[in-house]
Symmetry: C2
Subunit: 343 residues, 2 copies
C-alpha cells in the first residue's frame, strides 16, 4: 500500500496508537497526539530546553545506504544530543515528515519504529508533528524535521570555559565520517536493526577487504548514532555536542566563551576500528577525527580538579586566546574552524 492509497488518517491513527504507550515509560505528557497541541508540566524548579534539526534526502542522507528505520532513529539521536549537550534530558518530540505520495506505507511505519525505539532509549515520547506530501516532481523528496523538548536542573552553555580548564570528549571521534565513507563504497543499506551483515563476513572495498566486526561500529555510528549523556562525575563549565567536527565545534565553544584552546593531537581518541578502516579507504584517521562530523560525542570543559577525566578523555586545555593544535613533538600550530557547510 502506498501513502496515497492507505490514506493519511489510517497512518495517523497507527502513529497515535504507537505513540500512546511508546515504551519509554515517560508519563509526562498531560495530553499527547490528537489535540491542537500537546500539553505537559515541567518538574518543579526545572528549566525547559528545546532544539530542532532537519534532515533532507540528498543533502543529509541517501536511501542508497539508509534504511527508513535508521533515519527515524538518527533524527531522534541528533536532537536528543542537543538536549544532553545542555545538561538536560529529552522529554517530548515533535516530528514532521514530508514524503512523496508514492512512498510505501511500510516505509513510513519503519521510519516511525526507528523514531519510537530511539525515543524509548532516551525516555522521551512522540507528542506531535505533521505528515505531508513532499514538493511535487522530485524523486528524492524526504524531509524530516524534529523538535525535541527537554528539561534540566543546571543548564550548561557553550559559554563558561575558563583558561586553565581541561578540554574533554566523551568518546572516539571520526567514526561517523569513516562509516559514511564506507557506506559510499558499500553503496547499499546495512540493516543493523535486523542483523545486517553476517558477523563472520568480510566486505570487499576498492583498496582491500575489511572484516565486518571492524566495519560494523563505524557504519553504526553514522546510521544509528546514540546520543551521549554528560559524564556524571564532571561539572562541565561549557559543553556542546560534536556534530560538525571537532575543530569547528571546539572553535564555537571558544568563540562563545571568549577563550582560546590548545588541543594535543595525540590525545584525540581514535577507535581501533577507524584506525584500521581509514587507510583501506585512502583516508587519514587523524584528519577524520579532527574534521569528521556527526559523531555526537560531547565536548566539554571542566576544572581539572573536578574530575573531568572520570567521565571523559582529556584532549587539551583552555588558554586565554588563540586556537592551537600541538603535535606529538610538542610543536604548536594554529588551526582554523573547518566543517560542513550546507550551501
Amino acid at each position: 500500500m502506498r501513502l496515497d492509497q492507505i490514506g493519511e488518517l489510517a497512518l495517523l491513527d497507527w502513529i497515535r496508537k504507537k505513540a500512546g504507550d511508546g515504551g519509554s515509560g515517560n508519563k509526562r505528557p498531560l495530553l499527547g497526539i490528537g489535540d491542537d497541541a500537546a500539553a505537559f508540566k515541567l518538574a518543579a524548579g526545572k528549566t525547559a530546553l528545546a532544539s530542532s534539526d532537519m534532515m533532507v534526502e540528498g543533502v543529509h542522507f541517501d536511501l542508497a545506504y539508509f534504511t527508513p528505520y535508521q533515519l527515524g532513529f538518527k533524527i531522534v539521536s541528533v536532537n536528543a544530543s542537543d538536549i544532553y549537550a545542555m545538561g538536560g534530558v529529552p522529554l517530548m518530540a515533535f516530528f514532521s515528515l514530508a514524503a512523496p505520495p508514492d512512498t510505501k506505507a511500510v516505509f513510513i511505519k519503519k521510519m516511525f519504529e526507528g523514531v519510537f525505539d530511539a525515543l524509548a532509549l532516551y525516555g522521551a515520547r512522540l507528542s506531535g508533528g505533521d505528515l505531508t506530501a513532499s514538493p511535487p516532481g522530485v524523486k528524492k523528496g524526504l524531509v524530516l524535521d524534529m523538535c525535541v523538548i527537554g528539561e534540566a536542573g543546571r543548564i550548561v552553555k557553550r559559554r563558561g570555559a575558563k583558561a586553565g580548564d581541561g578540554v574533554y570528549v566523551t568518546g572516539p571521534l571520526g567514526d561517523s565520517a569513516c562509516g559514511l565513507a564506507l557506506l559510499r563504497e558499500i553503496a547499499r543499506p546495512v540493516a543493523l536493526e535486523s542483523g545486517g551483515l553476517r558477523p563472520g563476513g568480510v566486505v570487499r572495498l576498492r583498496r582491500g577487504t575489511l572484516r565486518w566486526d571492524v566495519i560494523r561500529p563505524l557504519v553504526a555510528r553514522h546510521l544509528m548514532p546514540v546520543a551521549k549523556r554528560p559524564p556524571g562525575l564532571a561539572v562541565p563549565t561549557a559543553m556542546l555536542d560534536i556534530s560538525d567536527g571537532l575543530l569547528l565545534d571546539v572553535s564555537r565553544l571558544c568563540k562563545e566563551s571568549g577563550v582560546g584552546v590548545k588541543i594535543y593531537e595525540d590525545r584525540i581518541p581514535v577507535s581501533a576500528q577507524m584506525r584500521q578502516a581509514a587507510p583501506a579507504l585512502g583516508l587519514d584517521p587523524l584528519e577524520l577525527a579532527k574534521s569528521g562530523g556527526e559523531d555526537y560525542e560531547l565536548l566539554y570543559t571542566a576544572r581539572r580538579k573536578d574530575g573531568g577525566e572520570k567521565g571523559g578523555i582529556l584532549i587539551g586545555e583552555v588558554i586565554p586566546s588563540g586556537r592551537y593544535m600541538v603535535d606529538a613533538l610538542g610543536k604548536m600550530k594554529r588551526f582554523k574552524a573547518e566543517g560542513y557547510k550546507h550551501f
Copy 2:
C-alpha cells in the same frame, strides 16, 4: 547574492541578531539562538503547550501568488493558532527551513521578516531552528516547519463538549478558501505587506470584475491569516481551530468529546466580501464556509449561560449523538466530515 554565495553562517548571524530583540517584548528565553538548545522557564503553575506544522511548496502554497514575507507570517500564525486553540499563549518558536541553494538571500530574509513580525504580534520569540538545502533536483523545493511552544493556565481540549452546550465560532468562515480561489485567478503575488493593489482599483476575473476592497480581506485571510485568541468572556468546554474546514473540524471535536452536533446553516457567519466574491468565481459561499479550510477561526463549545455569545457567534448546539445540518426551513440532514487530504 544567492544562499550558496552569501554562505549559511552570514545568514545565521543576521537571523540571530534579528531574533535577539525580535520586537516582541518577550523576555522569557534564558538562552536563545546560538547554543545547542534554547532554554526557558515556565511561569509558576503553568502548563506547557507545543505544536508543529509543516508547509511545503507545491502542496500548501505556490510562489506564483505568495511572497516570502507572507509565507513566514503564515507559518507562525498557523502554529500560534494551535496554541490559542488550547487556551494558551505562544512563547517560543523553532523554525526549520529547507530551500534550494540558488535561493536569493533577500528572499530568505523577507521570509524571516514575516516570521519576526508575526511572532511580535503574538508576543513570541524565535528561539531556534535549522537552515538547510532542499532535496536536490527540484525547482519548487521550499519546506517550512515550525514548532511553537506556549503556556496556559487552564487548558481547553477537544474533549469536553456536553449535550446542551452552544457551538460557537469566532468569525466568518470560508474567506481563506475564497481568497485562494481568487489568487489562483489573479496568478501573481499580492504584496499586502507593502501596500499591494491600489485601494481604489478593480481586479478583472474571468466572470467579471471585483473591487480591491472586496478582494483584499479575502486574499489577506489566505496569505496572512491572523490567529484568533480565545474569547475572553466565554468558558469553553472544548475548542479547536478551524484549519481543515468547519465540517471536518466540528466532527473532530464531536469524536473526541463523544457527542453529536446540530449546526444551523443560516447561522454560519459569511463575510459580505465573500458573499460578493464567491459568485464571481462560480462558487457557493455556503459551501466555502462549510468546507473551506485555513480560516484559523476558533470553534468552541460553551454552556449557553456562560456567555459564549459575547466572544463568538452561536452556530449550533451539542446533542448526544449524530451530526446534522439544519437548513433555513428547519430541515435536518446528516453530514459527513469533509476536508483536505494531503495524500
